[in-house]
């Protein structure tokens, strides 16, 4: 069957509608700071400046059909460095949504379809019953094999819990033991939390596919789930775009959410400051060096530098001030790793790795042995480019290191640690 044709969007009209006055394409000085600072520049003969110019020149057909929109991760770095604050990502989003489903990268579409296919909203299609079963099974195992945690809890659908905790599907699907460190952290701080059988998943590739209806549907299910359990806080765990898609989705689709959205990173920092998470860096006697990756989705595109500072406070405490090396640039100015925007799922491996070269260079320049990041897409991408470009670093979640520091990290919870930390 022949693939569907891609209709032409009137980008200039769309820009006038979508972009605020004063930050419209009209204000572009053609200076090129956007392109200079964009890892997707040059791919498919395109870059942010060309995108703007072609929109203004009325090259709608070319822009409507360029595959570059799937290389742009909509990370908004171009807007961040633009003196006129011009935002290209909104038009990229529009162009993505305009592609017929059968032309969009199949991986992104499939992930979205799976998310809308069950009440879990899991992009890996894990149904509620399976999630509940996996959590119970893993919990049993921990209680049985780790005596310190024989009373560990992983509540599901507990009404009135303070935190409604989301969960990236990767763990319950592929590496269930990786869920345990977070449970242990909740246990240590005495958090009042629950998982849910419905709307528990974190991912939202519908947003990346430009499919607004599906994006809304996924967010709506999650909002309903939190409302139903009457939780105060929807707590986003170590996943970047889940936060952004939920936050923006609630605002965009005007959904009624009777709860706050908060990030686990902020809470790690608070629990450490309050003394509830008594972590320190004594375990790192060999002076292993760490760096952090600021996920675009929670730093530049959402909380700004405040959450980046929280993350650094957590990491510095965990690894020791002298063992922390910042990536350059960092915080809100950081580069997207190239795993975001659905790039990892898009099947454009060569492009994605080319994009990721800049991230690899950033990491290499730090000389760090590990990159810490509270984002699954960042995690997978940095892991992949590390191997592809011959890097020698590991990528770990914050929860792993917190439990390591507390001395409560189980033997099988160390898959992302190198031999020196496998214990």
């Amino acid at each position: 069957m022949a693939a569907s044709a891609i209709a032409s969007i009137n980008f200039k009209a769309a820009a006038l509608e979508l972009l605020p006055e004063g930050a419209n394409f009209e204000a572009c000085l053609s200076c090129g700071l956007c392109s200079s600072g964009c890892p997707a520049s040059g791919m498919e003969n395109m870059d942010p400046r060309k995108f703007i110019r072609m929109a203004l020149l009325g090259m709608d057909e070319e822009l409507s059909t360029t595959p570059w929109i799937w290389c742009c991760t909509m990370c908004k770095r171009c807007q961040y460095v633009c003196p006129m604050s011009i935002d290209v990502s909104q038009l990229v989003f529009l162009a993505r949504g305009n592609w017929p489903e059968d032309r969009k990268p199949a991986g992104i579409v499939r992930s979205c379809q799976l998310a809308t296919s069950s009440d879990s909203t899991s992009a890996m299609g894990m149904p509620p019953a399976d999630f509940v079963a996996v959590v119970e099974e893993v919990l049993e195992e921990v209680r049985a094999t780790q005596p310190d945690f024989r009373h560990l809890q992983a509540p599901i659908d507990r009404r009135g819990a303070h935190f409604f905790v989301n969960q990236n599907s990767r763990e319950p699907m592929n590496e269930p033991e990786e869920m345990v460190p977070l449970w242990k952290i909740f246990d240590v701080v005495g958090a009042d939390w629950t998982y849910a059988s419905k709307g528990w998943a974190a991912e939202n590739f519908c947003m990346f596919s430009g499919n607004e209806d599906a994006w809304r549907e996924v967010v709506r299910k999650r909002v309903d789930a939190v409302n139903q359990l009457g939780c105060e806080v929807w707590l986003n765990t170590e996943c970047g775009h889940s936060y952004y898609s939920m936050w923006q989705g609630i605002e965009r689709f005007r959904l009624e959410a009777n709860f706050r959205l908060e990030s686990i990173v902020t809470w790690y920092a608070q629990w450490i400051r309050e003394g509830k998470l008594p972590v320190d860096a004594r375990w790192n006697s060999k002076g292993i060096k760490f760096t952090v990756q600021d996920p675009c989705m929670i730093v530049r595109k959402a909380y700004g530098d405040a959450i980046a500072e929280d993350m650094r406070f957590v990491v510095r405490t965990l690894v020791g001030e002298e063992n922390f090396v910042d990536m350059q640039p960092n915080r809100s100015a950081n580069y997207c790793c190239g795993g975001g925007g659905g790039f990892l799922q898009a099947g454009m491996t060569e492009h994605r790795r080319t994009y990721g070269k800049r991230k690899f260079d950033q990491i290499a320049a730090t000389g760090a042995a590990y990159v810490l990041t509270p984002c699954h897409n960042c995690h997978s991408q940095m892991h992949d480019i590390g191997r592809f470009y011959g890097g020698h670093y590991g990528v770990v979640h914050l929860w792993t290191l917190i439990c390591l520091s507390l001395g409560i990290l189980g033997k099988n919870e160390r898959i992302y640690l190198g031999p020196e930390l496998r214990g």
């Binding site: 090129g32 700071l33 290499a364």
Partner: protein, 441 residues
């Protein structure tokens, strides 16, 4: 959604509006004086700076060799020029403090000297400047000595041509040659200085580039490169390349988007928060109001509204490029408070007939008026508010472009504004014992 839409509140002693050189300089001076500071505002033109810190490079179209002497004569002929209203000692101290701060943060600068330095431009012309990054100083020295030198440019890097430099410098620098090479790992398509600079932060790239440089350097004792010597550790990158090539290496600024400006922006954005400054970069202040006990700045970032409450405010919002001034068909306006702007009577007089007229355009001297304490004035010549100070190129009666004095005006007036704000704050503190320190809540 619960909790959304409520502005986040910050309280501080001093709020600096603007994130250009003037704004950052103000924050540096405030940090050095232990003044609790919040800095907000779009970076505007900072990313376009060359790295050269000019004080006075030209007067009346003529080259200025001794800016301090020029300052004295400026005082005579242009008493309203912002630099004329400052003490030469203060200007020198401002430059020293500013460059020392950058040096301490890992971006070494030459100290302000008794005369101007002759700096290279990417067109092969020369310009006079007071201070330059350490990565650029070897070029002018080599020019003065006619040392054997090769300018290396790169396939795919637009707007930087070794041939152009050689063609325009040949008379002054007979021993200058040029070579073109491929940047390691960037064989195809367009390449950007920013990307090259970041790649050079990696040891492996430095080694490959050094090998390529050695292959073309021949008998040259020095190698001149576009400004690409690293983004975060330029001095180390240069030292490393010098070690690997066995030659002295220097940078020449490039046209935008160029590395030295991005270097400064990233350095400031990282260092100032570490020094306790509440920095909210890349966001424009939408309103500034004064109440009995202070000033309130309103702005919005991606996350939502923010309010900053301050005891004193420095307005360093720049000109048209950074948004401090707005040119409307009906006249030029100051965008935040609608302060009166001194300007040509008629729009027809904004620009001269010839773009490159060495006398400059009358619009360039438009700006806001201040009193001797650098407080902006109302149309009636009164202080707008005792808590409000101004610094940078938003000030009237200067043409920083023709005078080659942009950084000088920014740094020196920021110094003055901070000094005056400090005096004001100290007065308030003396009157109100136990005034609140910096609070973030």
């Amino acid at each position: 959604m619960r909790g959304s839409g409520t502005p986040r509140q910050f309280s501080t002693q001093l709020a600096v509006i603007g994130s250009g050189i003037a704004g950052f300089a103000a924050s540096i001076f405030a940090v050095n004086r232990q003044i609790a500071t919040a800095q907000v505002g779009n970076t505007g033109a900072l990313a376009y700076t060359t790295g050269y810190l000019d004080l006075i490079g030209k007067r009346g179209g003529a080259v200025v060799v001794d800016p301090w002497q020029a300052l004295a004569s400026l005082r005579e002929s242009e008493p309203k020029h912002p630099l004329s209203r400052l003490d030469a000692g203060d200007i020198r101290q401002a430059f020293t403090e500013f460059t020392d701060f950058l040096g301490a943060c890992g971006l070494a600068y030459s100290a302000p000297g008794t005369g101007n330095l002759t700096a290279l431009t990417p067109a092969g012309t020369l310009k006079q400047t007071l201070c330059m990054p350490a990565t650029m100083t070897a070029g002018p020295r080599a020019l003065a000595a006619d040392a054997p030198c090769v300018i290396v440019d790169f396939k795919g890097l637009k707007g930087f041509s070794g041939a152009e430099l050689v063609a325009n410098l040949r008379q002054r620098w007979p021993q200058l040659t040029t070579q073109r090479i491929v940047f390691p790992g960037m064989e195809r398509g367009e390449i950007y200085p920013e990307v090259m600079a970041r790649a050079l932060e990696v040891a492996a790239t430095r080694e490959q580039l050094a090998a390529a440089l050695r292959a073309v350097a021949g008998t040259a004792r020095l190698i001149g490169l576009p400004a690409i010597l690293g983004m975060h550790r330029p001095d180390q990158v240069r030292a490393e390349l010098e070690r690997l090539t066995g030659r002295e290496i220097f940078e020449i600024p490039t046209m935008p988007p160029s590395v030295p400006g991005i270097r400064l922006r990233e350095l400031m954005q990282q260092v100032l928060p570490q020094k306790g400054v509440t920095l909210i970069p890349q966001q424009r202040v939408t309103a500034l109001s004064f109440e009995g006990d202070g000033a309130t700045l309103a702005l919005c970032d991606a996350f939502g509204p923010i309010r900053v409450h301050a005891q004193a405010v420095i307005l360093a919002t720049g000109r048209f490029l950074s948004g401090g001034l707005e040119a409307h068909p009906a006249g030029i306006r100051e965008h935040l408070l609608d302060l009166p702007v001194t300007q040509p009577a008629d729009r027809a007089d904004w620009y001269r007939a010839r773009y490159t007229d060495p006398r400059g355009h009358p619009i360039n001297s438009a700006g806001i008026e201040i009193d001797d304490s650098f407080r902006p004035l109302t149309g009636e010549g009164r202080r707008y508010h005792e808590r409000l100070f101004a610094a940078g190129v938003i000030l009237a009666h200067q043409d920083w472009i023709r005078g080659r004095s942009g950084a000088g005006i920014a740094i020196a007036t920021a110094f003055k504004a901070v000094t005056e704000a400090e005096r004001f704050l100290a007065g308030r503190q003396a009157m109100v014992p136990g005034a609140p320190p910096l609070q973030c809540h």
